[in-house]
């Protein structure tokens, strides 16, 4: 496929790797923010091909993984209602809440459906006027505009039996939280390409100035990632800290203003709890007052949930880049894709699942 195959060329990958080997002289910790990038890195073995001086730290950019347990419990409670058709992206169905998950709710006979697009859920609402249709609106900035558009569309079409359970997170506040932590080891970032397709990269310019850290907007194919790493290592070796754009075919400095405007029409920023990490100020999106009739939490009265997270799972430390999946004592044994303890083992972007699928655990 055009714009995919040419970024998977092994000869060019070899040249890029050679260039990285020539450039690097010191040890560097680089974090790829996005879980999609983590999967590319582990799937193509990029982390094992790089010079030993470069340590890739897997970041929190997996919305499925950071959706708080309370939100899953709310989804389970709403979906366990005979009058509800609960619509979700597929990844969310097996994420464990404190008591159950959406797949078990579906198995118990309730109507839980996987949709490809949030607009599909609006059409399901139109076709089923006697049911309440709830869409689980999760995601980073990439997914916020389509989810916002669904709410805007339902409002415009006068559809009242539609609402959204919102769990939206934002990348820059998470980067700031990581950089402000006393345990931080990250010295450079590969920013998530598709988040920047929507948002542009102006907000990262402030971060590079404030924290003196390089940020390279990076795509998802192996050559994109290798080039992003090369650009980041070059900045680190040369003592620069700027925003650079490796993914210029898909990202401009301003981003997509049409997508941003619909997102700002429906959502506003607020404090958000990240699963395994905790609360981060201004790191999430919530529905504005003028669209509150579409807020499923208000419609179904699921407010003030509070639960403790599972003791065995170390996904919080993995999402902050402090530990790697093989450091987890229950990896593969008590926690595996069949019986996941944490969301990082469920999501197609979760670091634990990537290690489970693509990496061989070396015997020690």
């Amino acid at each position: 496929m055009k714009y995919l195959d040419e970024y998977r060329d092994s000869g060019k990958a070899k040249s890029l790797l050679d260039a990285v080997y020539k450039k690097v002289t010191k040890n560097w910790n680089i974090m790829e923010i996005c879980g999609g990038q983590t999967h590319s890195i582990v799937k193509y073995g990029i982390d094992e091909l790089l010079p030993k001086e470069i340590n890739l730290i897997h970041g929190p950019g997996c919305p499925v993984c950071v959706t708080p347990v309370e939100k899953i419990d709310k989804a389970v409670d709403i979906a366990s209602n005979p009058n509800v058709i609960f619509c979700s992206y597929g990844d969310m169905l097996r994420v464990p809440g404190s008591k159950s998950d959406l797949l078990k709710v579906k198995a118990a006979g309730y109507d839980v459906r996987i949709v490809y697009s949030p607009v599909d859920a609006v059409y399901i609402a139109k076709q089923n006027p006697d049911k309440e249709i709830v869409f689980f609106a999760i995601g980073f900035e990439t997914t916020a505009p389509p989810n916002a558009q669904a709410v805007f569309l339902a409002n415009k079409l006068g559809i009242k039996n539609f609402s959204v359970l919102v769990s939206h997170v934002l990348v820059p506040p998470a980067i700031e939280a990581i950089l402000s932590s006393k345990d931080n080891r990250v010295q450079g970032f590969l920013a998530a390409g598709h988040v920047c397709t929507v948002m542009g990269f102006r907000e990262y310019e402030d971060i590079t100035l404030k924290y003196k850290i390089p940020v390279v907007v990076t795509g998802f194919e192996p050559l994109d990632i290798l080039l992003g790493i090369y650009m980041c290592v070059s900045q680190l070796e040369e003592g620069r800290s700027e925003v650079e754009n490796q993914y210029a075919r898909a990202v401009t400095r301003e981003g997509n203003i049409f997508a941003q405007s619909i997102m700002n029409e429906v959502f506003e920023t607020g404090e958000m709890k990240w699963r395994g990490i905790g609360r981060i100020i201004r790191s999430g999106l919530r529905i504005k007052d003028k669209y509150k009739e579409y807020d499923a939490e208000l419609k179904f009265g699921v407010v003030n949930y509070s639960v403790e997270e599972s003791g065995d799972c170390i996904s919080g430390l993995i999402l902050q880049g402090i530990k790697k999946p093989f450091d987890c004592p229950v990896f593969e044994s008590k926690c595996n894709p069949e019986h996941p303890l944490g969301a990082t083992m469920v999501s197609s972007e979760g670091a634990c699942l990537a290690y489970y699928l693509y990496k061989e655990k070396k015997l020690t």
């Binding site: 496929m1 999760i138 080039l227 898909a250 997509n256 049409f258 997508a259």
Partner: protein, 77 residues
Amino acid sequence: MCLAVPGKILEITDGDELLKTAKVSFGGAKKTINISFVPEAKVGDYILAHVGFALNIIDEDEAQKTLDYLKEMGDIE
């Protein structure tokens, strides 16, 4: 979750500004994609699709520049 796939616009379907859609080919597989965030899109453009929405139009010149740069790197080796 933030996966977005490049596809080529085959046909623009009529619709109002919110429901403007296009028929898009992803390596031969055809799907209807909402193009309301890229109102300037035209037949033949490549878009990046995410959850049924086009997030942008792929910039062909920039794509070529990256490939040229990678080729130069190989030539230097």
